[in-house]
Each structure stands twice: as structure tokens, then as C-alpha cells.
């Protein structure tokens, strides 16, 4: 299946575009999506480990299985602040 992943902030700038498309096997987990993304977008690797993945606007566990036509986004760490 083909999934579009939305990127924000530094992730968007490192990839040079606000969306990346990935070809993924059916029954693909969020963990595998992370691996494919790192392969296809080496510039994202450094930030990727610190990012969350959102599926349908909800933080997703690495074990979650993805389905076609879900909304997937990479969520870099938010500013936190004091």
C-alpha cells in the first residue's frame, strides 16, 4: 500500500517537502514505517528517533498496524518550555 506522511517543522525542512510518499507492505507496523522512512529520507534519520508518529491525529505506538488511507504524520518533539 502507498501511504502519504505529513511532515512538520524541522522534519519538513530536512526532507525538503511537507509530504513524503512511501510504498509499504500490507500489514505494516509503525515501526516498519519508521524504518522505510529512514531508508528513503536519510536526512530525517537524526530527528526520526525523537519523533512520534500520529495516525488519524492520535499518537501511535510502534506496534500499531497501519491501514491504507489512514492519515499519518511525523511529530517532532514539541517545545516543552519551562
Amino acid at each position: 500500500m502507498r501511504l502519504k506522511i505529513q511532515l512538520f517543522a524541522a522534519a519538513r525542512e530536512l526532507a525538503g517537502e511537507p509530504w513524503v510518499e512511501l510504498d509499504l507492505p500490507l500489514n505494516c507496523s509503525v515501526r516498519e514505517l519508521r524504518e522505510r522512512l529512514a531508508e528513503q529520507q536519510p536526512a530525517l534519520r537524526r530527528l526520526l528517533d525523537r519523533c512520534s508518529v500520529a495516525v488519524d491525529e492520535e499518537f501511535a505506538d510502534d506496534k500499531l498496524m497501519l491501514k491504507a488511507d489512514q492519515r499519518v504524520a511525523l511529530i517532532p518533539p514539541v517545545s516543552g518550555g519551562q
Binding site: 517543522a9 491525529e57 517545545s79
Partner: protein
């Protein structure tokens, strides 16, 4: 009440919107654009959000805060886009029967915004460089 907006935040109107005859306390928190961070001078900030998810998370924060404190009314407004020094980037207003719970509820909601809402800050330094604030690097 939850909102993301590019226009300046009318925090007087937000405060007024949470006032109620049932409340004995109204607390307003404002996050504002600070000039100095560890000695470095900020020229301006940019905020970028994932709007659909940010609005969902802000609504969840409101719901969870209402479950834990006797909130009468509350509102969370966050700006996106470019902000100049001193401008208000985020406002949280809470009314409760008593002040201790109003302070706690407001602080809790604001802390959760900083943890859960997918809204990112880009420092645009006075020296012309810019960097996204992604803690943990």
C-alpha cells in the same frame, strides 16, 4: 473553548468569556514572546501547528482538566505564524468556584499544551539564523 489562530489573541475577551456568577476565581495565563534565551537575542518567533491534531489535543486537555477540577468555563487559544517580541503566543483562561483550584487547573492545562499539542516554535535569532525548538537534540 479551543482555538488556533493567526490573528492576535484578544485575551481580555477570552477572560470575559470564562467569567460566571458561579465562579469565585478567574485565572488567565499568557505565554509571551521573550527577547532573551540563555543570552541569545530573539528577533521574532514562528509557530507551526498540525491543526487537526492540535485542536483535537487541546479539546482533550480541556476535557481532562474539567474532569479533575471543578471548572466552570475555560478557554485555550494558541497562535500560529509569525509573532513579534512581547506578543501573546498562547492564552489559557479558567474559572472555578475557588482560587486554589483555578490556579491548579490553569497551570495543568498550560503544562499539558506544551507536552501534547503538536505546535512547534522556530526561534528566529537577531543574528539572522533560525532554528526549530525540538528538545532532546
Amino acid at each position: 473553548m479551543i482555538r488556533l489562530q493567526t490573528e492576535a489573541i484578544d485575551f481580555a475577551a477570552l477572560t470575559e468569556s470564562v467569567r460566571s456568577p458561579q465562579a469565585g476565581a478567574v485565572v488567565l495565563f499568557l505565554g509571551t514572546v521573550r527577547e532573551l534565551t540563555e543570552g541569545r537575542r530573539t528577533a521574532h518567533l514562528k509557530y507551526e501547528a498540525y491543526p487537526a491534531m492540535a485542536e483535537k489535543k487541546l479539546a482533550e486537555i480541556e476535557r481532562e482538566t474539567r474532569e479533575r477540577w471543578p471548572v466552570i468555563e475555560m478557554g485555550i487559544v494558541h497562535r500560529t505564524g509569525r509573532l513579534e517580541l512581547g506578543e501573546v503566543s498562547v492564552a489559557v483562561a479558567v474559572s472555578c468556584p475557588h482560587r486554589a483550584e483555578a490556579f491548579e487547573a490553569c497551570r495543568h492545562a498550560m503544562d499539558q499544551v506544551k507536552i501534547l499539542a503538536p505546535i512547534w516554535k522556530q526561534e528566529n535569532w537577531a543574528d539572522g539564523t533560525a532554528e526549530w525548538v525540538h528538545p532532546g537534540s
